[in-house]
């Protein structure tokens, strides 16, 4: 079957000639009609539509957006905050960047709709520090929307008021984790909070109920209001609704961003047809399907999965539909939508050394297993790559990685151990053979660590 056509909802205007990030252009394209419509609806009705839509979070965990909203403590009497996660720091992920830079009003309109639905009076966009222009574009867009009475006091004469502020991070990956982000927004080190009790929906920003959603997740909300939750749920596949942006990087002919109905395109179609296949003379070897924290897939491996009726089916990696549930059933995850492709020129020890250096650099250091474990995994793989590999290194790595997950405050613990565990599980022979492989000439390979 040929790959289906892209279905651009969130990225409808990205890279469209003549489309500019200013309010006038957005209004010419029908902008802020969803906000007008939403203000005529009861907030609870909007939350209901979002629930019916089946929308799941695009930031990493794929948690139901409507469910997240329904967990918010609305009885505390404290203000409710909305925090937009625009940290976009998961390696391999580069989608929120284009929304922010090219279509900021789509995000602002969705923030206003979501804020109205959740009785939020103050929303913050937490944007990574490395997007200086993105922050300025958003600030300018907020000022324009404010001047047009679309943000701020008494929005469109409705009596409802809500402010949006932009808050810049400063280069730390852990600020993407929602409770680390909240600490950072409070002006502190971004040390993730322990859950329970600090679930953002109850004890978030300033110990008030707080919703944290990813940029792409929120952008869907305005479209859900446009078409209704039930219609929206027809896009994609059951339980995996809507479109999502797949970011492809690494060894393919046409890396880039592609928006597809969730689960309607397979990994093989995406890489071979959409991205043009491997580089000349190469073959695919390994794929990380959902940002660098997701477990690696070996090209050509097969999975035996359970069907609903109890029977089983066998699926090759290239036939995996790019949805949340199948990727999870195959032992990995859709995560942030960042698909990193490695071809046969790559040695997996070197690729892992690169990934381990990232996690060792980014661990916040609160939990001993994560702080020490990520550092040791980095040291071992770095030593291997730099000429001192030992036959027992694979086992050593395994021992360190297995002592992290489940013993830490935040999911970074899993994120940093999954690469090592999955690389060893799928490519263990390369770790054992590395001492000799290192000395064999591989002219086509580039340094990775």
């Amino acid at each position: 079957m040929p790959a289906p056509a892209e279905r651009r909802i969130i990225f409808k205007h990205i890279d469209e000639p003549g489309y500019t990030p200013d309010l006038a252009c957005y209004l010419r394209h029908g902008g802020y009609a969803s906000l007008r419509k939403a203000l005529g609806m009861a907030p609870a009705a909007i939350i209901d539509e979002v629930k019916k839509s089946g929308l799941r979070g695009r930031g990493g965990a794929g948690f139901g957006c409507g469910l997240k909203w329904s967990l918010v403590d609305r009885k505390s009497g404290k203000p409710i905050y909305l925090v937009v996660n625009a940290d976009e720091s998961e390696p391999g992920t580069f989608k929120d960047r284009y929304i922010i830079h090219q279509d900021p009003h789509q995000l602002l309109e969705s923030i206003m709709v979501s804020s109205w639905a959740n009785n939020v009076r103050q929303a913050y966009i937490y944007i990574r520090g490395e997007f200086p222009y993105g922050a300025r574009i958003l600030e300018k867009a907020i000022a324009e929307a404010r001047a047009a009475n679309l943000v701020g006091p008494n929005v469109l004469g409705s009596g409802y008021s809500c402010e949006i502020y932009v808050h810049r991070g400063a280069g730390a990956y852990i600020c993407g984790e929602e409770t680390g982000l909240i600490e950072s927004l409070e002006g502190k080190r971004p040390y993730p909070r322990i859950k329970p009790p600090y679930f953002p929906a109850v004890l978030g920003l300033y110990q008030c109920p707080t919703i944290v959603n990813n940029v792409e997740t929120l952008c869907h909300v305005k479209h859900i209001v446009d078409v209704g939750g039930e219609e929206f749920a027809k896009i994609g596949t059951p339980g995996n609704t809507g479109t999502r942006i797949l970011c492809v990087s690494g060894h393919v002919r046409r890396p880039g961003y592609y928006e597809y109905e969730v689960g309607r395109i397979t990994l093989g179609q995406l890489l071979n047809e959409v991205c043009g296949g491997p580089l000349p003379g190469r073959t695919f070897k390994a794929i990380i399907p959902g940002g660098s924290s997701a477990k690696v897939l070996r090209w050509g491996e097969t999975f035996t999965l359970k069907n609903k009726d109890g029977s089983t089916r066998t699926l090759a990696a290239e036939d995996i539909p790019m949805d949340f549930d199948t990727l999870a059933a195959c032992g990995t995850m859709g995560g942030s939508g960042g698909v990193i492709v490695m071809d046969d020129s790559v040695n997996m020890v070197e690729a892992l050394a690169n990934i381990n250096a990232f996690y060792a650099h980014e661990s916040c250091g609160q939990c001993t297993p994560c702080r020490e474990g990520s550092l040791w995994m980095k040291k071992i793989t770095a030593r291997m790559v730099h000429g001192q590999a030992r036959a027992e290194d694979g086992a050593l790595l395994q021992g360190v990685a297995d002592q992290i997950a489940g013993r830490t405050i935040c999911a970074f613990g899993e994120a940093c151990s999954w690469p090592t565990q999955s690389f060893l599980a799928k490519f263990g022979d390369e770790f054992r053979a590395y001492p000799e492989a290192k000395t064999a000439p591989r002219p086509e390979s580039v340094p990775l660590a």
Partner: protein, 162 residues
């Protein structure tokens, strides 16, 4: 503290964005670093006093976040992405090309004080790897040849300034 009037004005504008003044630590540090180039001990104390915090509350933030620095750096900052997608497309070689052009190892300042080269983690532009940020500007698909072009441009801009 010798801050520009517009920096002081923007500082006063940003503090009321938050119900709790401490939240303004990061925005204030960004504004001061943009103005002064780095965060001095004096700046740390100034921010603490302005937000009614202890200096350690600000210092612990300055020392955690990679983008804040406590020393001056070169006039231009070249950040080369080190992470996997860029590395697969030659990011380490791109970094080496910049190092050769300016005869300085990453982490250091070139002898003429013109550039600092840094390796940084994923810049969220992995589809156009390898990528580099020079000051606020992102440059995409920066192979070694492109790195040399960008270096020549930096040198030309430096010469024009003299």
């Amino acid at each position: 503290m010798n801050l520009k009037p517009e920096t002081l004005q923007r500082i006063e504008e940003v503090i009321p964005h938050y119900p709790v003044a401490r939240s303004a630590v990061l925005p204030l540090l960004h504004l001061i670093q943009e103005d002064a180039g780095f965060i001095s001990a004096e700046a740390t104390e100034w921010v603490a006093a302005r937000l009614d915090l202890q200096p350690i509350n600000v210092l612990e933030v300055v020392t955690f976040y990679p983008m804040f620095r406590q020393q001056p750096i070169g006039r231009r900052l070249i950040k080369v992405c080190r992470t996997l997608s860029c590395a697969l497309r030659g990011g380490y070689q791109t970094c080496a090309a910049f190092e050769q052009e300016f005869k300085v190892r990453r982490g250091g300042v070139s002898a003429d004080g013109e550039v600092t080269i840094e390796f940084v983690e994923c810049l969220a532009s992995c589809g156009t790897a390898p990528v580099v940020m020079i000051d606020d500007d992102l440059h995409e698909n920066v192979d070694c040849a492109r790195a040399r072009e960008l270096s020549a441009r930096i040198r030309a801009e430096a010469a024009a300034r003299r």
